[in-house]
Amino acid sequence: MAYKIVTAHCTACGACEFECPNAAVRFKAGAYVIDPRLCTECAGQFDAPQCASVCPVPKTCIPA
């Protein structure tokens, strides 16, 4: 159970990193990636995954 970032769509704005409650989003080798070991899909913390809610590009933060 984790989310992932579709790098090809990502604008590298960093908003998801900023909002993730579990510090699962990292900037690595020039791209934002989600660490599946840390990602909880925001279960129990928010109604919807924060990365997907803030991301400006549709279908960029999606279930892995």
Binding site: T11, A12, C13, G14, A15, F18, E19, F46, D47, A48, Q50, S53, V54, P56, V57
Partner: protein
């Protein structure tokens, strides 16, 4: 590419040399009078704006600002913005070609400050929202303030996150903030903002627009209450928010906004924005002017805004950003604060002179009973007519009558994707741009373009090169109307 001559020509050390560099030859300036001086402002406000090219129409002739893009994250989506888009030839807010870490940005500011004595302001203005991506904004400002205490800081925001940071903004001595507010009506807002992200949740439609408006008004009230100068930006979108613009102007003025900047929507399908793709058009120059005229007695309208790119460097209307990209920055920058201090001294004297000069010329036209006249001016700064017609990428439009000279707006002469245009086409573009303006004042013009302009009914005059703008216009208007009286 923007013309970089105006700043380059001024990179000299002493006050006297600076004076010479700007005065050059040409006819002797007698006098001139800009209305945007300290007379109509309280001293505290004037002290805050006098060196800020974005807040004072007069200051933009003398001072340069730079923007750095360190805060790319945003908390709302606007239908006129597409953050994926990036083009070095394009000049519009929210567009930037280089993203910087706070450390890189501070290094860039230091390098520019060492090169450009006119630098007085550092702004963080997107892409993204400076108040939402606050950690990066604050880190950048902290670094710059430590190294360059004489540079003023400003930021712009859509307002949603602003109320959370007002106290820090005051503590950091940021005395200028820009809020983009496009409407007071949530139903209209819903057509501009598809969604916002607030307190862990994405909101849509009227609900989103209501929250946003609420936070914007809260931000405006809080900033004004703490003595921060607030400029309100509004994007004029024909058929969507123009009907509410006068009321918006009235309300933000009543709440204490210092300036209201009504900017035209820039919309092109190639930008990939929602409005670009749906064919929503921007306003014509006449439509923009009509709305600005309606708002005439509201918040001071800022008519000299160039909608500069988020990473712009330079005087208003030019961009030297390409000269200061990261790979071109020196490792260690020697900053010479003295040069900026000397330049500011010189400007203080020059402004006095310009103001005194205008008063005398003003006396000449006070007796003229003739209709107002529009005049276009080519200038590269310093408040003087000092640009070659062929180098002008924009024209400053002034209106003159017996009451004096007023800056109306600037009109761009180029497309924002320059290139691929022959000279003939550029001239036709200029003629279209100057529709309704019978006279152009410039430093020089070639014979062929002069004749083509004349054939289109636009007289281009280059005999008052290096004169103060207001003085030259007042003299012209006075002599024109004497001549008309003689021939009548």
């Amino acid at each position: 590419m923007a013309d970089i001559i105006s700043l380059g020509g001024l990179q000299v050390a002493s006050r006297d040399e600076l004076g010479k560099a700007l005065e050059g030859g040409g006819c002797a300036a007698s006098s001139c009078g800009s209305k945007a001086g300290p007379a109509d402002m309280d001293p505290a406000t004037w002290a805050k704006v006098k060196d800020h090219p974005c807040y004072s129409e007069e200051a933009h002739h003398y001072f340069a600002r730079m923007h750095v893009s360190v805060a790319p994250a945003c908390n709302i989506q606007c239908n006129y913005c597409n953050r994926k888009y990036d083009c070095a030839n394009e000049s519009r807010p929210g567009v930037v070609s280089e993203r910087l870490t706070p450390e890189q940005a501070a290094r860039k500011v230091l390098a520019v400050a060492a090169e450009v004595p006119q630098l007085s302001v550092l702004g963080i203005a997107g892409p993204g929202d400076a108040a939402y991506d606050w950690k990066k904004t604050k880190a950048t400002f902290d670094l710059v303030q430590k190294q360059l205490p004489d540079i003023r800081l400003c930021l712009s925001s859509n307002g949603l996150a602003m109320p959370d940071h007002v106290d820090e903004i005051v503590a950091m001595n940021i005395d200028h903030v820009t809020l983009t507010i496009n409407t007071l009506d949530p139903e209209v807002g819903a057509q501009i903002y598809p969604w916002i992200f607030f307190r862990g949740k994405r909101h849509h439609g009227i609900e989103a627009a209501t929250i946003l408006l609420d936070r914007q008004m809260q931000a405006l009230d809080m900033l004004v209450a703490r003595g921060v100068l607030v400029k309100v930006n509004s994007v004029l979108i024909p058929g969507i928010n123009e009907a509410g613009m006068q009321e918006l102007n009235r309300v933000v003025k009543q709440k204490g906004a210092f300036l209201h900047n009504i900017m035209p929507l820039i919309s092109d399908p190639a930008h990939g924005t929602h409005f670009g793709l749906t064919g929503q058009r921007g306003p014509t120059a006449a439509e923009l002017r009509a709305v600005q005229d309606l708002c005439g007695d509201g918040a001071n309208l800022m008519k000299h805004c160039r909608q500069c790119r988020a990473d712009a460097v330079g005087m208003l209307g030019e961009d030297r950003g390409q000269e200061f990209t990261l790979d071109k920055l020196p490792e260690v920058v020697e900053d010479d604060g003295e040069k900026r201090a000397a330049y500011r001294d010189w400007v203080a004297r020059e402004r006095e002179d310009r103001r005194a000069a205008a008063e005398a010329a003003q006396a000449e036209v006070a007796v003229v009973a003739a209709p107002p006249m529009l005049v276009a001016v080519c200038t590269k700064g310093g408040g003087r007519i000092n640009q070659h017609f062929g180098h002008a990428t924009e024209f400053q439009i002034y209106e003159v009558d017996a009451a004096g000279v007023r800056f109306i707006t600037h009109r761009r002469a180029d497309n924002y994707c320059v290139g691929g245009h022959g000279d003939g086409e550029t001239l036709s573009e200029i003629i279209r741009t100057l529709d309704g303006v019978p006279v152009v004042l410039c430093a020089r013009i070639g014979e062929a373009p002069r004749e083509r302009m004349a054939a289109a009914g636009i007289e281009v005059i280059d005999t008052c090169a290096q004169d103060y703008i207001e003085t030259a216009i007042l003299d012209l208007y006075a002599s024109r109307n004497r001549r008309d009286a003689l021939t009548a």
